[in-house]
């Protein structure tokens, strides 16, 4: 194990459907909030990482360059990393390697997404994630791949829609306590099952919204951490893995790329038995079944067993393994890259006991955040501990 890396501060904007701010201004609000949270100034920062998903959302080519001033990168080393939807959590891995390399002592990690710029509907941007020659002419919708994966998952393990709907119910309710949340609500399983069928088996309330927003964290090496905070949270493991682009050649029932990413992160963190050693989890939940799918990929339960954890109430905030106490993407919102970093920030706050009304019942020492992206292809995992 190389050098220890800490997260010392975090900040985020409110997640909204349409923001008046430019992408740069959103990035600034988040970055500034993160710096302020640990009394840091921009001059204390050695280097900057930006995470942001497709350029077509913001509608700016070379969007990393465009956003750099809002991320505080002027005159500093700066990279924009990009692994589709997995970017938000992956950006923390880049921050980790900035510092663990010994080259930089501090860094600012900023993730931004402004989806509302894309007209007439942001989902149209997803047409072009499909292969230009062999798939795009069929007119695919983003929901197709989710529906195809959900169907495969349900069929393989005999999972019912009612069980999956419980994720949406839990997360939207959890989000009621999140001050940045976009679509927090008290809903029932029936509401989900009766909502409009978009792409069977995916229904309206199974899906996270499109959002604008930004998140940021401040990372330092172990020697500087206590200069900024009394309660540094350590990045004890990071992992990522990209599966083949030929998604129609894979079994979609199980996210093996998440497992590979988790194995990398757990090995680094010295975790042998994740079920016993992880206290709280923020798996990626752009769709309700995804939370379950990812819990399995993270090896926090056996394959096909995640729905039972949920039905038994074990993943509630007062349960054995609280899952998405923030309210997740389904409740807080889904400005793609920013949503991933929001999950890392939630674990950061939970471990420090600063999650206010969302604070989980058990005393948490170690948590995991995970994101996912591309053509159901990439897993990114960060393990934090206090």
């Amino acid at each position: 194990m190389g050098r220890r890396v800490a997260i010392v501060g975090a900040g985020m904007t409110k997640f909204v459907r349409r923001a008046k701010e430019t992408g740069k201004e959103l990035a600034f609000y988040a970055a500034k909030a993160a710096l302020d949270s640990c009394g840091a100034k921009l001059r204390d920062i050695d280097a900057v990482v930006l995470g942001s998903a497709p350029d077509t959302f913001d509608g700016v080519h070379m969007k990393g360059e465009y956003l750099s001033c809002g991320a505080g990168a002027f005159g500093k080393p700066y990279l924009r990393c990009y692994v589709g939807g997995g970017t938000g959590v992956f950006a923390v891995a880049v921050g980790w390697y900035y510092i663990a390399s010994g080259i930089f002592d501090t860094c600012l990690v900023v993730c931004e997404e402004k989806m509302s710029s894309y007209q007439p509907h942001p989902q149209g941007a997803f047409l072009t994630i499909f292969d230009h020659t062999t798939e795009r002419p069929l007119g695919p919708n983003l929901l197709w791949i989710f529906a195809l994966e959900m169907q495969r998952y349900m069929q393989t393990y005999g999972i019912k829609k009612e069980e999956i709907a419980l994720v949406a119910v839990k997360n939207k309710k959890n989000a009621l306590d999140h001050p940045a949340a976009q679509i927090a609500a008290e809903i029932t399983v029936e509401d989900v099952l009766n909502s409009e069928v978009l792409c069977y088996p995916v229904q309206r309330l199974d899906v996270s919204p499109v959002s604008d927003g930004a998140c940021a964290i401040v990372m330092t090496n172990e020697y500087l951490a206590r200069r900024f905070t009394d309660k540094p949270v350590w990045v004890s493991g990071v992992g990522w893995c990209l599966d083949t682009a030929y998604w129609t050649n894979r079994d979609l029932a199980y996210p093996r790329y998440v497992e590979e990413a988790a194995r990398m992160a757990y090995k680094m963190a010295g975790i042998r038995d994740p079920r016993r050693e992880i206290d709280v989890a923020e798996p990626y939940d752009p769709f309700d079944y995804k939370e379950l799918h990812h819990l399995e990929g993270l090896m926090l339960c056996g394959r096909g067993e995640a729905p039972q954890l949920l039905v038994d109430g074990k993943t509630q905030r007062d349960g054995e393994l609280p899952v998405c106490p923030s309210g997740g993407l389904l409740g807080v919102g889904n400005p793609i890259a920013a949503a991933g970093l929001m999950k890392v920030i939630e674990i950061f706050w939970q471990l420090r006991g600063e999650a206010d009304k969302r604070q989980i019942a058990k005393k948490a020492k170690r948590g995991v955040a995970q994101a996912w992206g591309d053509l159901m292809q990439v897993g990114t995992v960060v393990v934090l501990e206090i």
């Binding site: 509302s116 007209q119 989902q123 798939e135 929901l143 069929q155 978009l198």
Partner: protein
């Protein structure tokens, strides 16, 4: 003390445009080179055939074709003709188009494992000529081709797959 900034605009605001803004329609056009493997694939489609490749090392038969095996990392030169039948690996019933417009008649996208390819090797396509309620995972389907004269070497030379 945590602050959460951002100034929300409503759908109404967006309709009325009561804020300063600019619009832009991107002028971004491409002619992607098909190359060896996809070129062969499209030529095959034009002839009413589905072409795959066989890895010389692991002997997996894969579709869509590629000139490398992503698992063995070796060059593939062996193109093989597959059947135009297969079974549904997974499917959906879509009531919206790619740009979120409502569809009168739902589309049924599916991953179809092609006969002759290794198990699990499928392609994305559409299912039709069937009541959506009848579609099942594992169902056998066959390609419905466009007329030979209309085929142009595109994935849409197969109109859709139908149960048989």
């Amino acid at each position: 003390m945590k602050n959460f900034f951002a100034t929300p605009l409503s759908e109404e605001d967006f309709k009325k445009k009561n804020f300063c803004f600019e619009t832009w329609i991107g002028n971004c056009f491409y002619a992607w080179d098909c190359g060896v493997a996809i070129g062969k694939y499209l030529e095959g489609l034009k002839k009413g055939k589905i072409i795959g490749v066989k890895c010389p090392k692991c002997e997996r038969i894969m579709v869509p074709p590629r000139i490398f095996c992503e698992w063995c990392f070796v060059l593939i030169e062996d193109f093989v003709e597959l059947k135009d039948t297969g079974r549904i690996n997974t499917f959906s019933i879509s009531y919206i188009s790619w740009d979120v417009k409502k569809l009168e008649k739902p589309q049924i996208p599916a991953v179809i494992e092609i006969d002759g390819a290794s198990p699990g090797y499928g392609i994305l396509h559409l299912i039709s000529e069937v009541d959506p309620k009848e579609v099942k995972i594992g169902m056998r389907v066959k390609a419905v081709w466009k007329d030979e004269k209309e085929r142009e070497g595109k994935i849409t030379d197969i109109k859709y797959f139908k149960p048989y």
